[in-house]
């Protein structure tokens, strides 16, 4: 009532009011989304926190509330090695994916400008690798890394006269093998992000640089990279989290071995829950994983320019 009388007095208010009459309560529209995420994401997530304080197992013994699980899980001696493996795997994959993604995006942009043949082929092959399911990717690379003389990479090396490499059985080499296969699958995502962001850079900046006589290297350092800063950071957040959560590609490539050389945190959690049936310990590890993702995202976010419209 009161609203209506105010609205009648001011035309601007009237306009808003008309919008307001139609302007709807968003909840019914959001309800399906809230329901699905609530039931299948949020509720289980809360349960994970509860499990961490119990001794619950998949074998269905009586549940008791205890802090013992947290203490024993976090003090396991192998955890330190798992975290180190996870760190090496994630850090090298992320750096390499970011680097190659940017590199290929710039090549593709350059090639498109000059209408070079082959640009589309490079872009498309990189993207195709991205669509390959993680499990299949692991199996494909397992065939390439086959250590027999006829294996996909070793026979290639033999042709150019390099001795065979123990891709998967040498505990030092295996980490790089896993990273290579992960970079193969993951680079396309960074490429898409970098490509879109580079296209959005104002061409006037480059024209100005040309007038000032900048060489291509200077253009990269002083224009492209600073302009891409936000995109690079956002991309780093996304691919870091993706990489931390990867385990299907590793389970089919090495299964975490040899020994524990490639057992990352997510694979370790998987094994704890579904091979040892230790649900409570798995919950503790899940929370640890979540905390690491969140922590990293916050660290990256600190470097984002302030006041950026999100």
């Amino acid at each position: 009532m009161m609203d209506a009388s105010i609205a009648a007095k001011s035309p601007r208010r009237l306009g808003r009011r008309t919008a307001g009459r139609h302007s709807p309560f968003p909840l019914p529209w959001l309800m399906p989304l809230i329901l699905v995420l609530g039931v299948f994401y949020l509720y289980p997530l809360l349960d994970v926190f509860r499990f961490a304080f119990t001794n619950v197992s998949l074998l269905g013994r009586d549940e008791e509330y205890t802090l013992q699980t947290i203490v024993s899980t976090l003090s396991k001696p192998e955890l330190l090695q798992i975290l180190w493996v996870t760190f090496v795997f994630t850090a090298s994959s992320v750096v390499a994916q970011q680097f190659f993604g940017l590199f290929i995006a710039l090549i593709v942009l350059h090639g498109e400008k000059r209408r070079l043949f082959g640009t589309t082929i490079v872009r498309t092959t990189a993207l195709v690798a991205w669509v390959v399911p993680g499990i299949a990717g692991g199996i494909i690379w397992k065939m390439l890394f086959n250590e027999a003389p006829f294996g996909g990479l070793n026979s290639l090396l033999r042709v150019i006269g390099v001795p065979a490499v123990q891709w998967l059985s040498d505990p030092h080499m295996v980490m790089w093998s896993v990273v290579i296969s992960n970079v193969w699958r993951g680079t396309a995502f960074s490429m898409v992000v970098m490509y879109a962001a580079s296209k959005a850079i104002d061409p006037v900046l480059y024209e100005a640089a040309d007038v000032d006589g900048a060489n291509p290297w200077q253009r990269l350092i002083y224009i492209t990279l600073p302009q891409l800063r936000t995109a690079i950071l956002v991309n780093m957040i996304l691919i870091t989290i993706q990489t931390l959560n990867t385990f299907d590609a590793i389970i089919s490539l090495t299964g975490g071995g040899p020994g524990r050389a490639t057992e990352v945190l997510s694979l370790y959690t998987f094994n704890v829950v579904f091979r040892n049936y230790d649900l409570a310990a798995g919950a503790v590890l899940s929370i640890l994983m979540l905390a690491i993702s969140l922590g990293l995202a916050l660290v990256y976010a600190r470097f984002l320019p302030k006041g950026e419209p999100s």
């Binding site: 299948f40 399911p133 086959n146 993702s293």
Partner: protein
């Protein structure tokens, strides 16, 4: 060089899949097989097991993609058009869901599903697929609805259309390209699912290709590489074809909606 890095694994896969058993051991020197054969594909595709895997993957990924659209479209419309408090933060919360590893929620979900007898059912798995893909899909759809001029639906509202009519008659048809790419993206995501079906489905007759090929790989050895390669190719090719046919659309939607986050 770059091309070689990305193409080599797939070319090698193809090369292996076309070989006879004897040529496997010749490595790169027989990159183009002397006697290329489609026998391996015939062997894989004619086994009931693989046909079943493919069918299950198709059912799961397309049902979940449809479900995803049903859930995400109204929400994307509301996020794009309705003014309400805390919209930006809510969009961020939505994105934050993607930070949670599926592994985390699978731990308790496995127990609920077992209690509800939803393990070994496509329905249970489909619901989880939807939940996993829906945040990303909502972002993509919001991006594509944002691209529709607001004046169109404002005009319709003034003419007396209800919000539902605007949504149904204007937004849906005009965002068809965005919807198509969101659909394909979620089909591809569903196709590559491993964890969810691996945990929730133990009956072989219900297993989708991702789990099927993993189990198949575990039973193979060096002398049957050609069969494994063919099986792998069969599992990979549908996703690649779906992607290639709509490549331009998908990339457009990705860069417009999700990536600009």
């Amino acid at each position: 060089m770059t091309f070689l890095f990305f193409a080599w694994p797939l070319l090698w896969l193809l090369s292996l899949a076309l070989r006879t058993r004897r040529e496997i051991f010749l490595g790169v020197s027989r990159f183009i097989p002397k006697a290329p054969t489609l026998e391996n594909f015939a062997a894989i595709l004619s086994s009931d097991k693989f046909a079943g895997y493919l069918w299950n993957a198709l059912v799961l990924s397309s049902c979940s993609a449809i479900g995803c659209l049903i859930v995400a479209l109204p929400a994307a419309y509301a996020f794009s058009r309705f003014p309400f408090r805390g919209k930006g933060p809510w969009m961020m919360v939505l994105l934050a869901f993607q930070m949670i590893s599926p592994l985390v929620i699978m731990v308790p979900l496995y127990r609920y599903m077992a209690a509800l007898h939803l393990t070994d059912s496509h329905f249970g798995a489909t619901m989880v697929y939807i939940a996993l893909a829906v945040p990303m899909v909502t972002w993509i759809l919001k991006g594509s609805i944002d691209g529709i001029p607001k004046s169109l639906d404002e005009a319709a509202l003034i003419d007396g259309c209800s919000h539902f009519a605007v949504f149904w008659r204007i937004i849906l048809p005009l965002s068809a390209p965005g919807i198509a790419s969101a659909f394909i993206i979620s089909v591809i995501a569903g196709w590559s699912q491993f964890l969810v079906p691996f945990l929730l489905i133990s009956k072989e007759s219900l297993t989708p290709i991702g789990v099927g090929i993993f189990q198949y790989a575990g039973t193979q050895n060096d002398s049957s590489l050609q069969l494994l390669a063919a099986a792998c190719l069969v599992s990979v090719v549908p996703a690649i074809i779906a992607f290639l046919t709509l490549q331009r659309l998908i990339l457009g939607a990705m860069t417009e909606g999700a990536v600009k986050g």
